[in-house]
């Protein structure tokens, strides 16, 4: 029987919660197409994650808890997904457009000569196929795209769809055998360094971002530093000891403008904008960021934008719902204190 497949992304045996957004999108399609939602869970702890997927709306699940799948590798993951699609011809395969989801779904789509709607913001059933809204031209324009075929692959932008409230239930689970044995897999993982303080900007509900203005830190750099080196120290200190505490109180992540990254104030993983991450948090607090059009491309779909900048003429204020003209090094600590008081933290 045909179905809507939803790939559940996991890391070390735990589901990536944004995958529940994909289950919700699958549920929505399943309703209009009268099909069940099948969760696909590969890797360790798959059986438990499958039941969790049931709580979030999946009707049944296919799992493969094999050692070859314990860490994500495209080769064995894509081979298994392709095999399942070829055998069962699901009407659609959905997944979150994370780094892994993007390459996994596109690879299996190519293997099965299926069309793909990548990184969609909106999705609906349309005639024999699916219709999606996508961001194109660096997010400056939207496109409507239709896809039809035996199976359509869809990757979903994080936070574009809302996960359901979980309601625990037991769902039937089928186990699948891996498509490749370890001997058939040429890619080998030699090591993994977990990122210190995960940056997961795409999934963050709140982002506190810093720009060039981070260098105006009144804190004194260690003796011996001057000029650019002193500016870099001041900005790094500001990101770590002024912005990070605010992000912590809000349960959010720290972002940055390209100017801040290029100046060496913070690693590239934090960059928001055209050559960084595209984000859409509920709350985006831009601190000392002027708001170049390239930065706007990465954050303009944020629900509420707060701009804090010394220069009242900065373009960032044109994007903002709330503007605070002033010194971020005075305002942010006051804001952090106020939030601790009001949120009882």
């Amino acid at each position: 029987m045909s179905a809507i497949y939803v790939w559940i992304e996991t890391f070390k045996g735990k589901a990536n919660p944004t995958s529940w957004e994909a289950v919700a999108a699958g549920r929505m399609l399943a309703g209009s197409m009268n099909l069940p939602v099948t969760a696909l869970v590969f890797g360790e702890n798959a059986a438990a994650v499958a039941q969790e997927a049931g709580a979030f709306g999946a009707d049944n699940a296919i799992t493969c808890d094999d050692a070859t799948l314990s860490e994500f590798r495209l080769e064995p993951y894509a081979a298994l997904l392709t095999q399942l699609v070829k055998t069962n011809a699901p009407k659609a395969v959905l997944g979150i457009a994370s780094n892994r989801g993007r390459e996994l779904l596109a690879s299996s789509a190519a293997d099965t000569d299926s069309p793909m709607l990548a990184d969609v913001l909106d999705l609906s059933a349309s005639g024999d196929g699916l219709s999606a809204t996508r961001a194109v031209y660096a997010g400056k324009v939207l496109s409507d795209t239709n896809a039809s075929g035996a199976t359509v692959f869809v990757s979903l932008r994080s936070r574009a769809f809302k996960a359901a409230d979980p309601a625990p239930k037991q769902i039937p689970v089928t186990t699948a055998a891996p498509a490749l044995s370890e001997a058939q897999i040429a890619t080998k993982i030699e090591g993994f360094a977990e990122a210190a303080g995960t940056v997961n900007l795409s999934d963050a509900g709140v982002i506190v971002s810093g720009g060039r203005g981070m260098a105006n830190n009144p804190a004194n750099p260690p003796a011996g530093l001057s000029g650019d080196a002193a500016s870099v120290w001041k900005a790094q200190d500001g990101f770590a000891n002024v912005l990070q505490p605010l992000a912590d109180v809000l349960g959010g992540a720290v972002g940055a403008s390209r100017a801040a990254v290029d100046a060496g104030y913070i690693p590239y993983a934090h960059q928001v904008g055209q050559t960084g991450k595209t984000v859409s948090p509920d709350l985006y607090i831009a601190c000392g960021i002027s708001g170049a059009i390239q930065h706007q491309a990465g954050m303009r779909s944020s629900k509420i934008i707060v701009a804090i900048n010394k220069d009242a003429e900065s373009p960032i204020f044109k994007m903002a719902r709330f503007g605070l003209v002033g010194d971020l090094y005075q305002i942010i600590p006051a804001l952090t204190e106020e939030l601790k008081k009001r949120l009882g933290k």
Binding site: M116, Y137, D144, E190, E338
Partner: protein, 259 residues
Amino acid sequence: MRIAVFTRSTPDTAAKVEVDASGKVTWGDAATVVNPWDEYALEEAIVQAKNAGGKAAVIAIGAPMHDEALKHSLAMGVDEAYRVWDDALEGADGLAYATTAAAAVKQLGDVELVLFGRDSVDVGTDQHIYATARKLGWTMLAYVSKIVSIDFAAKTIKVEKILEQGKQVITAPLPAVVSVLKDINEPRYPSFIGIRKAQKAAIPVWSLGDLSVTLPASAARVTAFKNLPPRDTRFELISGTPQEQAAQLVDKLLEEKVL
């Protein structure tokens, strides 16, 4: 031995891009630039080809406007440039692009490594990159922040790949398709001599017939482009001492239910 790298021309990053009354995407008289992510792929192709004593070849699939990106690539120091265009490619989807790209790589013949930038900002996707690797039947290594080592004789490559949770170190066989991130290198600026040479270069254009490729019908089609919905233009300036600003902002954010 060649290293192939794909690029395209995209509107200047500062250009205002919109949909005009006829439904076409326009960026007025703004210039086009190399797709911003591709600068890193081009730089890596130049460096890796030089290290290996091979050649770097750049390919664009698209209309004549993409010659601009190819000329920029030549000016940076890429050895050869090719463009693939055919009316049948108009409106092609990721699968059709990948089928064409794989055929172009095969046409070059002695390619061991294909490089792409992280994604193409105009089409807003990276799916064609992974699809190209599958159509070639080659290793795909995405989100690479560093090529640790590459051995064309032993046909192996070792890279650092970025996931949301951290960094994987992966070894894999060549030939491979690699998509690169911004932190892999510092792209060079074209030299004056490079720019003059590039302006004079004749860029061969291959048709689908030249590549002996038959395209699959594009099953994904753009039906319309739309301008972004207007942003909420409400703006409130919050003034006072820093403490007053902070207190007022928290009030407002609680009202907006974003805390």
